[in-house]
């Protein structure tokens, strides 16, 4: 495996249960941008009682705009750690 791979077995075990750390490709910390791909464009979509009255696509748009603004304002690339 290349040096850029950093194993976090404890975190992985916490996230998805024992055994995951055995996967050599699975040893990377969850990046926020990967997580947001899933949480903003995936998942079970049910119409809640408190609903953003905009489509999911727009929710993604708003959030990514926020991220870009934050990235530019604060720090060069905060989304990997």
């Amino acid at each position: 495996m290349s040096a850029e791979q950093t194993a976090h077995p404890a975190e992985l075990e916490h996230r998805i249960g024992p055994g995951a750390a055995e996967h050599p490709l699975a040893g990377r910390e969850v990046s926020l941008v990967d997580l947001l791909d899933r949480l903003l464009a995936g998942g079970v979509v049910l119409t809640g009682d408190v609903t953003l009255s905009i489509a999911g696509v727009d929710l993604v748009h708003i959030s990514l705009r926020a991220l870009i603004t934050s990235v530019k304002a604060d720090r060069p690339s905060p989304l990997r750690w």
Partner: protein
């Protein structure tokens, strides 16, 4: 009183109060009674099971002051807040997924009370069960392919050096650089396509996400492919081995694998559009 009337009334009266609404993390079935012991979600609040028949939504109280529609719009622009919510949500999902097939909810799915959550389970029971069947015994793997457009093609650089007129030479150099980038991009797109085809063979389903901007991810290169695959547990090792081989063989691009994830990318389409939709 109809749900709409009740909803409107509750939202109105609760806007300024520190009332709670129920934030839904995930839906699962046959959850062991002790599975949620001590498990805390957003705001440090203990999560609770909301059960109808064999289905359980894991939900926790959050203040309407932060999660009401208006507040939520503003808060989503706050990176620190968004990250805290996303990571807490993912932590809870990870805990639940240890116990069996689990479908995470999309970020910020909120209900006024547990009764409403139960109603949604009741009306959507068949479709939620079918969706859980679909992901049972499978995990999601993410694969991203990045094109490396930074290296000029040596031949192109050499040909540009032969001209003695500086302006023309500069333009030609720029042109060949651009051409070289275009070619590198085309070649990476083709490589990404081949990777996608090969990995799809071992997956039951795939879902493409939007390519990530380098500005957001901090990754080097240009994201040409960002796909989630739903892979049966028994195929996981083969899938990773193949991904490893493809990564080792990749030229002009870089392949990254993330996961295993709970099946975030294979949740239900909007239930409210369906025939058994609530309210």
């Amino acid at each position: 009183m109809s749900i709409e009337e009740r909803r409107a009334e509750s939202l109105q009266t609760a806007q300024c109060a520190d009332a709670s609404v129920w934030y839904c993390y995930a839906v699962t079935r046959n959850l062991p009674a002790a599975a949620l012991d001590g498990l805390r979600g957003l705001q440090g609040a203990l999560v609770e099971p909301v059960t109808f028949a064999d289905l359980t939504v894991v939900a926790g109280p959050v203040p309407l002051g932060q999660f009401g529609e208006t507040a939520l719009r503003a808060k989503l622009e706050d990176l620190a807040w968004l990250e805290e919510v996303a990571r807490r949500h993912d932590d809870v999902v990870g805990e639940i997924a240890r116990h069996g097939a689990t479908l995470p909810f999309r970020l910020a799915t909120l209900y006024l009370d547990q009764h409403r959550v139960r109603t949604v389970l009741e009306t959507g029971h068949a479709r939620i069960s079918a969706a859980l069947d679909r992901v049972d015994g499978r995990v999601e793997w993410g694969v991203k392919v990045y094109a490396d457009l930074s290296k000029p093609v040596p031949a192109a650089v050499a040909s540009a050096a032969g001209d003695d007129r500086p302006g023309r030479s500069y333009l030609r150099k720029r042109l060949t650089e651009q051409r070289s980038k275009d070619e590198a991009w085309q070649s990476a797109v083709q490589a990404a396509d081949e990777v996608d085809t090969a990995l799809s063979e071992l997956a039951e389903e795939r879902r493409a996400h939007r390519p990530q901007s380098a500005e957001l991810s901090g990754e080097a290169g240009v994201n040409a492919l960002n796909v989630a695959y739903l892979v049966p547990d028994g195929q996981g090792d083969r899938f990773l081995a193949l991904a490893g081989e493809l990564r080792a063989a990749a030229r002009g691009c870089r392949i990254e694998v993330t996961g295993p994830w709970a099946p975030y990318s294979f949740g239900l389409p909007d239930l409210s559009a369906g025939p058994d939709a609530p309210g």
